[in-house]
Structure formats: C-alpha cells, structure tokens
C-alpha cells in the first residue's frame, strides 16, 4: 500500500515537492489534533495535551516549509492536494487508545516518524532532479533527527503498565 497516490516522482517539480512536504506536515498536524480531541473526550487529558503539543510541532514544520515554498515560487497553484496523501507522517487511527499513557503516545509518534523516513527513503531512488533529491534527502534526514528526539524522551519516560485495556469497557455518553 502506497501512502501517496497519483504522483509520479520522476516528474515531480521542486514546487510540487515542497507542496507535498507541506501537506505531509499538515496531515500529521490534523491527525494529532484529532487524537488530542479524542483523548480529551475519553478522559485521557495528559496524553491529549501531549498530542496537542505534537500538533503544534507539526504546524511549525509546515509553516517553515510553506515559507520556503512561497519564497521560491510565490502563491502559484499547486498540483498536489490532500487527496494524494494517506498517512505519510500522520499516525494511523488505530494507534490511539483511550487511557493510553505517555509512553504509548511517544511510541506512536516514533512509529509515525519511522514511517515518514521510510516514505522519503523509498521515494528517493525515483527522484532524478538534483534539487529535488537534495530536498528529499533533507526531509529524510530530518525524520532521523525527529526519531532521535522522540527516543530521548522515551528514555526519560518511566516504564508504566499499559492501562488502556483495563478501562476498555468504560462507557462514554453517546
């Protein structure tokens, strides 16, 4: 299953690649916001706050990339849109759990960063344009940096039993 559809990497322009990168960050931001809402609704406020923080980080990445895009190409229309993307850097919906702990949340984020790294690594051999290759390499390497940051947080996070299943039967007003 490819997380990006309808895009020919061999013919991708630098402008469209930047737009794709912006959308990848946007998709991740939106998913973390959704997770934050879900967990706030399901009485898991600490992890809801953590995912809100992740959403702000993804938004910062998005804004940085968007600024680069606008500096280079202005506000010309894009050839890529969100319909081309399927969970490139966004954690998958199944990763969220009511009453999950911070450690599980960090593992979710790490899995998403690993997935994004895999996406850029797999796309790179198909990218011919040197400028585009440089951008994809930069984005891929950033994912490695992000993984290191998450791993460092994980190392500081105490091991706690996963309580998400213990309360699985707790009702929420429908």
């Amino acid at each position: 299953m490819t997380p990006v559809t309808g895009i020919d990497f061999e013919r991708l322009s630098l402008r469209d690649a930047l737009d794709l990168a912006v959308l990848i960050e946007e998709e991740a931001r939106d998913r973390y916001l959704e997770f934050a809402e879900q967990l706030a609704t399901h009485d898991t406020p600490e992890v809801a706050d953590f995912f809100s923080r992740m959403a702000r980080i993804e938004e910062r990445h998005r804004t940085e990339l968007l600024d680069r895009r606008r500096t280079l190409f202005g506000v010309t229309p894009s050839a890529v849109d969100r319909r081309n993307l399927f969970d490139v850097e966004a954690p998958e919906y199944e990763a969220a759990r009511a009453f999950m702990g911070i450690r599980q949340a960090l593992e979710t984020v790490l899995a998403a960063e690993v997935k994004a790294h895999a996406f850029f690594s797999e796309a790179l051999p198909r990218v011919k344009d040197p400028e585009l290759r440089a951008l994809f390499q930069e984005l891929r390497d950033e994912e490695v940096h992000h993984q290191a940051l998450v791993k460092a947080e994980l190392a500081r996070c105490p091991e706690k039993p996963d309580e998400s299943e213990a309360y699985a039967d707790d009702p929420v007003a429908q």
Partner: protein, 290 residues
C-alpha cells in the same frame, strides 16, 4: 480532478466521539476524500443512517443528514431519493442495523435498484450497546450474550446482496485507506444500488484477529487475484469466503446497469401527465364489482 471542494469541506464541526482507535475514523476520512473526488457540493448530498456507532456518520459531514431509527435507514433513503432525485443519497450503518433489525429492507432496496450507495461498517458485534452478538458475529464468538460462544451461523453480507442482485458489490477495510477511498468513490459513481461492506473493527469489543493490524496481514486485493468484476458467478464464489478470507475490492460491477427505480418512477410520472387525467369519481372503476 476537482479542485473546488477539498476533503475537509465535507467535515462538520461536530467532533466524532467514537472510541480512540475505532475503524470508523478511517471510514469517515475516506468518505471525505471520495466525496471531494466526486465533486458534488454538500448541499446536493443526503446522508441517511440508522442507529449504532457507524450511524453517527451523517453528523460528521456537512451534507444533509438524517440519523433515523434502528434498521430503517434504507426505506427512508429510498423515500428521499424518490422525493428528491437530484440528491446524491448515501446510506450508512452497521451490520446489526443493516442485516438484523433492518435485514428485511435490504432485498427490496436492491430489487428496486434505487440509486443509493449503502456503506455498511461491519464490525461483527453490537458495539454501541457494549458488545452483544450481531448478525455477522462468527460462530463461537464469546460475548455478553454468548458467554459460552455463539451457536449461530453468521450472515454473509456479500453473498446476501449479490444473491438479491445488487449491481455493485465491494469490500474494503480502513487498513487500506487508498483502496477504501477508491471503492467508496466508485460505489458513489455507480448508477444504481451499490453496496460496500467495510470491515471496520470495533477496538473495544472486537476480536484481535478483526483489528486493522490483522487486516493488513490478511487482506487480499481481488485485483491481485485476477478477478473480473463483471463475472457475477466468480463474485458469488469469492464472496463465500467471507469470514475466512479478507478479500478487498470490487466483487461485482454490472457491466450493463439496468434503469434505476427513481428514473422509472419519473418516467411514469411524465407518462401519466401526458395522458388524460382520470377523474376522481372514476377511481372505483379500477376495482371489479361483484
């Protein structure tokens, strides 16, 4: 590709309250994307649902929505389509709503061939009411209503709708988001009754082998098997594997879709308007006098 309406244009401000990890989050996302690809604006779409977790979907879209009563989504959707044929009508519900409480409506919606898209989020359990046996629960499943395991044979939704003559029958899973999005779009575009069985797992009461992680390992796209969706007999044969194999894709697409009921009704209305109006006083002439 339509660029006027983005997927988020179909997303309502109402926040879903499904359990975190529920398969329905993926379904509603796929739906936003499919609707964006089809390009009909929200005010030209009506979402009709029954009762259950998945039946909350109308509230999460910007289209017209009617969260009706248990099992009655299909009759109401047929009424909406006949009264307002210009609307794109999508029906959403769960396996219990569609194949137990509303099971009697399925054959009639299919044989009439009303132009509807019916999305069933099949999680093999009654999730909203906290985990009872549903019509698609596998035999042996232990639930609060079957503590020693179910003795019942599950309904096979794919075989059921194929046997009744549905013109478009597919199966999807949120484990394959691009595939599910494409199938929903194709179902919406099909001119006639279309059915997508979405294996959308219940994270709280579903079995481990029904979760998305297991789906990723088990799913077999029908296209990779070389299945011809125009072959109804082959579709019936493949559909028999429901519950043992997880085939995804189009089982059957009628290559020559018959006229839809809503079109036939409109034609009859035009025909009646052309003829001499029958006076009310002559209505009783229709009935034989003894």
């Amino acid at each position: 590709m339509n660029t006027l309406l983005a997927p988020n244009d179909y997303k309502s401000p109402l926040k879903p309250i499904w359990c975190p990890g529920c398969g329905d989050y993926g379904v509603v996302q796929a739906l936003y994307r499919a609707l964006s690809a089809v390009g009909r604006p929200p005010h030209e779409i009506a979402f009709i649902s029954g009762i259950g977790c998945s039946s909350r979907i109308p509230g999460y879209t910007t289209a017209y929505g009617f969260n009706t009563v248990h099992g009655r989504a299909l009759p109401i959707a047929q009424g909406v389509k006949l009264a307002r044929p210009e609307l794109l009508v999508i029906v959403a519900g769960g396996d219990g709503d569609g194949f137990s409480i509303g099971g009697g409506h399925v054959p009639h919606a299919i044989r009439r061939n009303v132009d509807l898209t019916y999305l069933v989020m099949d999680n093999q359990v009654y999730g909203l009411t906290k985990g009872q046996l549903s019509p698609t629960s596998p035999r042996g499943l232990k639930t609060v209503t079957s503590p020693m395991g179910s003795l019942e044979q599950p309904i096979n939704p794919l075989l059921t709708v194929l046997a009744y003559g549905a013109g478009f029958v597919a199966q999807a899973t949120p484990a394959d988001m691009p595939g599910m999005t494409a199938l929903i779009e194709e179902a919406i575009r099909y001119p006639g009754f279309s059915f997508v069985n979405i294996q959308s797992p219940c994270i709280t009461f579903g079995e481990e082998e029904q979760q998305l992680k297991a789906h990723k390992a088990r799913m077999k796209p029908l296209a990779s098997l070389g299945h011809d969706p125009a072959n109804q007999l082959a579709a019936l044969d493949l559909a028999r594997a429901y519950g043992t194999e997880l085939y995804t894709g189009v089982f059957f697409r009628n290559p020559s879709p018959p006229p839809t009921y809503d079109v036939l009704v409109r034609e009859r209305q035009v025909e009646l308007q052309r003829g001499e109006p029958r006076p009310r006083s002559r209505v009783l002439d229709n009935f034989p006098r003894s």
